[in-house]
């Protein structure tokens, strides 16, 4: 029995990747939940908004790399991120002006907004593929590891290594900073408070002189920043491929619903719930269990609950369970 090695193996293959993935999902779900709270519809174009922001960042990163600008050990993408956010902000403001505002003025039903957002998905998908193509793109540079598995083994003398990738570190740090900024904004500033008021009770907010168009605009700007950051972090950690962002919609929506749609705190919790379930259910537990149980009881199989191809099924199952038993989510979200 060797609990220390078991714990290191667990951290290496489950905890660290799940925390990084969870942070990415949480940032994505925050965007979905903000749109839902303020504009009151599920934005199906969110995945492709992420792809668009990430694409601008990738293009800027290539420009910087060509110019020889770099951040040393950190990925150049961090330097390009603000430009990506600006590009994405421009995009969402244009789509809001050209598309969504008309239906807002008409007070269209939420489901019409959802269909319209599907149309936007199509167009964004076309634009992204048109500009950068449908293939995988590499834009990661700098140091690959903060601590590599080998250094860790040499430092501690343990059998198991704990690798900590730079992208994972950046993901976690960025997510914490972004979330702290967002909550400070929502709870402390006048605009943030007016957003929350608008989300809670639209009529009352209008009555107290809050300008709805301004609230909507600020929401889109924040969502663009969140979406681009989430998209870039995911792209750095895994890889940038336009279609994967569309597929991310399901876990992102699942996170937002599990936490309670319209509730920012819930979106973060939901992101981690989904990420940890996905990783633990699709991880082959053989290694960890072998360390814990006595030698003669070591398992012969992989001890994998579901093959990794079914990771979407995990978020879907959680989604179904929540819809069946607690449709408002773990944290009280908006009404059903």
């Amino acid at each position: 029995m060797d609990f220390l090695n078991a714990f290191i193996a667990l951290s290496n293959f489950v905890i660290v990747p799940a925390v990084a993935y969870g942070s990415q999902l949480a940032l994505g779900a925050l965007g979905v939940t903000l749109i839902y709270g303020i504009l009151r519809f599920s934005n199906f174009a969110h995945g492709d908004t992420m792809a668009f922001g990430a694409m601008v960042t990738v293009l800027m990163t290539w420009l910087f790399q060509a110019q020889g600008v770099s951040l040393g050990p950190l990925p150049t993408a961090l330097l390009a991120l603000p430009f990506g956010i600006l590009g994405c902000m421009l995009l969402v403001l244009i789509t809001d002006r050209a598309v969504y505002r008309f239906y807002r003025a008409q007070k269209a039903k939420p489901v019409i907004f959802v269909i319209v957002s599907l149309g936007v998905t199509f167009i964004l998908n076309g634009i992204v593929r048109f500009i950068i193509g449908p293939d995988d793109q590499r834009f990661l540079d700098g140091e690959r590891f903060i601590v590599s598995a080998r250094t860790f083994r040499e430092m501690t003398g343990l059998r198991e290594g704990l690798a900590f990738k730079t992208t994972q570190g950046i993901t976690i740090v960025t997510a914490v900073v972004v979330v702290a900024l967002l909550f400070w904004f929502l709870n402390r500033t006048r605009t943030g408070k007016s957003m929350r008021a608008y989300s809670d009770n639209e009529d009352l907010a209008l009555l107290s002189g809050i300008n709805p168009e301004r609230v909507v605009m600020v929401t889109w700007l924040i969502v663009a920043a969140l979406a681009t950051t989430a998209g870039v972090l995911y792209g750095l950690d895994k890889s940038f491929k336009p279609f994967t962002y569309f597929q991310l919609l399901l876990p992102i929506f699942a996170s937002a619903i599990v936490g309670g749609l319209g509730n920012p705190l819930g979106a973060i919790a939901g992101g981690f719930v989904i990420a940890f379930s996905e990783v633990t259910v699709t991880y082959a537990w053989k290694k960890v269990v072998t360390y814990i149980v006595p030698e003669e009881m070591a398992p012969s199989g992989l001890l994998q609950l579901l093959s990794t191809d079914y990771k979407f099924a995990v978020s879907f199952l959680i989604l179904l369970i929540v819809l069946l038993f607690k449709p408002t989510g773990l944290f009280k979200g908006k009404a059903v």
């Binding site: 008309f102 199509f122 879907f316 449709p327």
Partner: protein
């Protein structure tokens, strides 16, 4: 004749002329390919129109239901793999039956026991234990089946119904498969906010595709099942038939040309029959008391509920029916292709394109859905050459070999997504009732 009828006939005539124009310029074979897929698209659009146009239900899982229909074509048409059932097939089916029994027992227990900590523990305990027992039963069976000649079979196979028109029996079975999946989804997500159904259907579609991709014992996964039986004769048989060759020569066709056209025409005839039957049924439903009730529910749920209508049950009913029609279309498509290729199912192609068809055609109007099916399918096929032509026109002033020109021409293929999105948004904005509006 009244004005709207003339206008609608004009619209159908325009689509017919468009397809005929393709026939003249690009060959009748291409035109018939468009017609056949147009017929299938029209059936899918009918199903979605039932859900959205009649009842206002937002289903973005059409791809999944279409793929389930395709699975039915495999399970009905392909011969059983020799020895597969003896090796592990019964074990697999037993394991699946066991899983269903466990879930049934859990549901039953949950309704019998008083709520509390004990109930939660029992439910979770049974599910976890059940899952591990299920895996212990299931995995050896799968391994045994997939070991049988993996290069060619490695799956259970099907019922082997491959004689002539009997092949078409797979189509209603595909509808049944889709209906079963729709029932599970509808049971959980209907009655909640409208967005939840959208998200749940988006999820089930992804999962159905990943099951088809990964469960090799069922339909060979990404190794694809090819050579599905077809209700029509093979081209090569016709070409070897002297009587057929003679008749073709009499009409001025070579044997090869005539045989491909003849087979496609046969398919078109079969699909047309299915479309007409479904269209007739949909029209009857629309004009029946049931159809009026559905529209009443769509337009004002609260009022319909006050009149004593069970809104959730009616929604479930129409959701299952619409999905079943998509399943039928999916089975027909797989039969037409002659193969099941799970890797080619893309949500943009199979879900959102059908949505564009319904909305452009006119939601709530069955003829609108059919028109939309043909028109949008035609555009989807033809936008690519048109986009290429447009790009060549735009870049004609640029120097040959400039990277921008190469990139623009290379990316022309992605124009179709953009065009479809634009069409959808423009129609929603400026003509939200579609080309043939609901009466």
């Amino acid at each position: 004749m009244n004005a709207p009828l003339v206008k609608n006939m004009m619209l159908f005539a325009i689509v017919a002329v468009l397809i005929a124009y393709v026939g003249v310029t690009q060959g009748w074979n291409t035109a018939l390919v468009i017609v056949n897929m147009g017929l299938i698209s029209a059936i899918m659009a009918l199903g979605v129109n039932l859900q959205w146009g009649f009842a206002g239900l937002f289903n973005v899982g059409i791809m999944g239901f279409v793929a389930l229909g395709g699975l039915a074509a495999v399970l009905m048409g392909m011969p059983a793999t020799p020895g597969a059932f003896e090796a592990g097939g019964w074990t697999i089916l037993g394991a699946l039956a066991f899983a269903v029994a466990v879930i049934g027992a859990v549901v039953l227990l949950r309704s019998r026991m008083a709520p509390g900590v004990l109930r939660k523990l029992v439910v979770v305990g049974m599910l976890v234990a059940g899952f591990f027992i299920y895996r212990a039963l299931f995995d050896p069976g799968v391994a045994a089946v997939e070991e049988i000649n993996p290069a060619l079979t490695g799956y259970l196979g099907g019922l082997g119904i491959n004689q002539g028109l009997w092949v078409a029996l797979a189509w209603p079975v595909g509808g049944l498969f889709a209906a079963a999946a729709a029932w599970v989804i509808g049971k959980t997500a209907l009655g909640l906010r409208s967005d939840y159904l959208a998200i749940a259907t988006l999820g089930i579609a992804e999962i159905i595709i990943s099951v088809l991709k990964n469960e090799d014992w069922l339909s060979r996964g990404v190794k694809n099942v090819v050579g599905l039986p077809r209700p029509t004769p093979f081209e090569i048989e016709l070409q070897n038939d002297p009587a057929f060759v003679e008749r073709a020569a009499g009409l001025g066709f070579t044997a090869v040309e005539a045989s491909t056209l003849y087979v496609k025409l046969l398919y078109a005839g079969l699909f047309l029959i299915v479309l007409l039957v479904l269209l007739w049924m949909a029209q009857r439903a629309l004009n029946s008391p049931w159809g009026r009730m559905m529209r009443a529910i769509r337009d004002n749920e609260v009022a319909a509920e006050a009149m004593g209508k069970d809104v959730t049950a009616r929604h479930l009913q129409i959701f299952v029916l619409g999905s079943a029609i998509c399943g039928i279309a999916g089975a027909m498509m797989t039969t037409l292709d002659g193969q099941l290729t799970p890797g080619t199912y893309q949500p943009l192609r199979f879900t959102f394109l059908v949505w564009v068809m319904v909305i452009v055609g006119g939601s709530g109007n069955n003829f609108g859905a059919v028109l939309g099916g043909f028109l949008i399918w035609f555009l989807w096929v033809q936008v690519e050459p048109m986009g290429l032509w447009l790009m060549e026109l735009i870049t004609s002033g640029m120097a040959d070999g400039s990277p921008l020109k190469a990139h623009l021409i290379e990316s022309a293929a992605h124009m179709r997504l953009f065009t479809m999105g634009l069409v959808l948004l423009l129609v929603l904005r400026f003509s939200p009732r579609g080309l043939i509006p609901e009466r």
